[in-house]
């Protein structure tokens, strides 16, 4: 059978998405890195990075809040994510599925809201998503390893293994996880053309969340939300490798002041907000 390198990459990316071949995808994504941290990659599919071993890659998102609040009505990142990942429009806020969404500074940083210094940010909304924590509480509590941390720092979901106990939702201090209270495919009835055939839809009774688009990373692309933001030339979302000192994310974090959500909980989020 003839398979081009491109097709092989696609396959590896998709299998990595389901936690089947994270090793292979990892190797393809950052050739040579695997040897450098073979311990980390060992049992990568459902394993966690070994303590004390620096993984070659730790994907991170930097959100330039100052730039984003200028684009008040922009929903490009949210819409791009929704259409890429077949996220339904539920309507009922109690049952919403959200991977990336916009919320206000007061809601996202309830403990850091100051009466005086935040005047410029007050009431302003900007995007938020799963933090892909270095020490994710959701992974710690999952009874089936349906949610797990990949060696590249992405906190992943195996939607075929999830039993829907929602322990991860109780454990997540960021409200980043959504449960399929009803059959999500129902919301696409009559709108099948809107579905992205390259990505799965989900079934009722499982939890889902932002994945940092590993299927796109495997192809050398950036996450869908970042691409949409760049297309608009807003450049509010910067994505990159936190473990590479010369990466764009590291450069901007050196230059600007950043905050993370609820740092006192020790989860070490991989999502940074420039304020």
């Amino acid at each position: 059978m003839k398979a081009s390198r491109r097709e092989f990459l696609k396959l590896a990316g998709v299998s990595a998405l389901f936690g089947l071949g994270a090793n292979a995808a990892f190797e393809l994504l950052t050739p040579g890195a695997l040897e450098a941290s073979s311990e980390v990659a060992h049992g990568a599919a459902h394993g966690e990075a070994a303590e004390g071993v620096q993984a070659a890659t730790r994907w991170a998102m930097v959100i330039d809040v100052r730039k984003c609040i200028l684009q008040e009505d922009c929903q490009d990142c949210v819409l791009a994510c929704n259409s890429t990942h077949n996220i339904p429009t539920v309507g009922n806020p109690k049952e919403e599925i959200k991977w990336i969404w916009k919320d206000t500074f007061e809601h996202l940083f309830p403990d850091q809201h100051s009466q005086y210094v935040d005047e410029g940010l007050e009431g302003k909304a900007f995007p938020v998503m799963c933090n892909h924590c270095q020490y994710p509480p959701c992974v710690r509590v999952c009874p089936t390893k349906a949610t797990f941390k990949r060696p590249d720092g992405i906190v992943m979901m195996d939607m075929h293994r999830c039993i829907g106990c929602r322990f991860c939702m109780a454990a997540c201090p960021y409200g980043a996880r959504s449960f399929n209270w009803r059959d999500p495919r129902k919301y696409f009835e009559g709108k099948e053309a809107m579905l992205n055939p390259e990505q799965p839809t989900r079934t009722k009774g499982v939890v889902e969340k932002c994945t940092f688009c590993p299927e796109r990373l495997a192809k050398g692309l950036e996450p869908a939300c970042v691409e949409a933001c760049k297309k608009r030339k807003s450049d509010c979302l910067i994505f990159g490798n936190l473990n590479d000192p010369e990466s764009e994310v590291r450069k901007i974090l050196r230059k600007r002041t950043s905050i993370r959500r609820k740092p006192e909980l020790g989860t070490q989020p991989s999502v940074f907000f420039l304020v």
Partner: protein, 386 residues
């Protein structure tokens, strides 16, 4: 043995029929839930656990409380409990059965529940909860059944049962400790993130379980010829009293830490439960009812002349049972989710099918208990006749 559950008067069959009816209604609602998803409940992305998990949590306590009979009987040879310890063990069996059913109905993909065994995950407290609950069920089935078999022949329990009896003591503590750990280890949920969670769970368990048992024993006394004995019931009442006082003491400690430290996150949930937060106060009347019933219950159980009158004893036990049920079966789980991680409030109202399913599980528990108690009572009656 089991045939004794098949012989009963009209009242007995009427009761069994009523339970079967409730189970039937709940089962129909469960089929509806299975078909449509958990969206038919009042739960939401903010209140992601509701009545089911709250009932589960409460009933683990009821199950654990059997140890309050086992310790005096088997460690201190307290003879007054000889005839009633079996009722505590059977109550534990019924309670653990309900616990498991409440977990099953709460799961989004129940067909995949065996993934917990296929992919064992020791870092998950839920994994350990499954182990301790199943273990406790098996221990109590072994101990309860063999005790009853021995009683029937009027001989002491076989020697090999003894280790299981002793094992059941730490195991009872473990089921409620592990259940507390489900909550107490979660960052960002201030109401739950407290070292006193497991001790408080145990204290409220040793109040709620024995108070239910007293009510059941008084009921047994009134519908059968078996008399559990005044002293056994009064001793249990003292256990309830001590445990409830410790439970309330622990609750006061939660209030002190939250409000003296004045840390907003630590106060919010308690404020929501007892005063309302951001204009949301749905649970406030419930929580004050719980507090009032706790005071009434403790007062009755504390004053011997009151406690010794059956009518007051029933009132006291019912008060404490209801008080702890509201506290743990309503307030604790819901309150822990309020406010949500964005410090906004989403309230929770259980739906009709959700309540019907919960009632059905209580009815299954009652049915299991009825059958087991019927057998135990028949054996006791035969003994007393002989």
């Amino acid at each position: 043995m089991i045939e004794r559950a098949l012989k009963g008067n009209e009242k007995y069959w009427g009761w069994v029929g009523l339970l079967l009816l409730l189970i039937g209604v709940g089962f129909a609602c469960y089929i509806y839930q299975l078909y449509n998803g958990l969206g038919i409940t009042g739960m939401s992305r903010d209140i992601s656990w509701g009545v089911y998990i709250a009932q589960f949590t409460y009933l683990v306590g009821v199950a654990a409380s059997a140890v309050m009979l086992v310790i005096p009987k088997y460690l201190h040879n307290y003879k007054k409990y000889t005839n009633v310890v079996i009722f505590g063990e059977f109550l534990a069996i019924a309670a653990v059965t309900m616990c498991m059913l409440f977990i099953i109905v709460d799961i989004g993909q129940p067909a995949r529940v065996l993934n917990v065994l296929l992919h064992p995950t020791p870092n998950s407290i839920l994994f350990w909860d499954m182990i301790v609950l199943n273990g406790y069920l098996i221990i109590n089935v072994i101990v309860g059944w063999n005790t009853l078999l021995a009683d029937k022949k009027d001989v002491p329990s076989p020697g090999w049962v003894k280790p299981f009896i002793y094992l059941s003591i730490p195991w009872a503590a473990s089921i409620h400790t592990v259940t507390a750990f489900l909550y107490a280890g979660l960052p960002g949920r201030h109401l739950w993130l407290t070292a006193i969670m497991a001790p408080r769970f145990l204290a409220s368990a040793f109040a709620s379980g024995p108070s239910l048992l007293i009510l059941l024993l008084l009921l047994v006394k009134s519908v059968s010829k078996f008399d559990p004995g005044k002293e056994a019931i009064q001793s249990l009442a003292k256990t309830v009293c001590y445990a409830m006082i410790i439970n309330v003491f622990f609750l006061c400690m939660e209030f002190f830490t939250a409000f003296y430290s004045n840390i907003p996150g630590h106060m919010y949930s308690l404020q929501y439960l007892f005063a309302g937060l951001h204009g949301h106060d749905r649970l406030v009347p419930w929580m004050w009812t719980s507090a009032f019933l706790a005071v009434v219950g403790i007062f009755i159980m504390l004053v011997p002349p009151l406690r010794k009158q059956t009518a007051y004893l029933v009132l006291g036990c019912a008060s404490i049972f209801l008080s702890t049920w509201i506290d743990k079966g309503v307030g604790l789980v819901i309150g822990g989710f309020i406010p949500n991680p964005f410090e906004t409030v989403t309230e929770y109202y259980p739906t009709f099918p959700e309540i019907a399913i919960s009632i059905a599980i209580w009815a299954i528990g009652a049915l299991v208990l009825t059958i087991l108690y019927k057998i135990a009572i028949s054996v006791r009656e035969e003994q007393q006749m002989a």
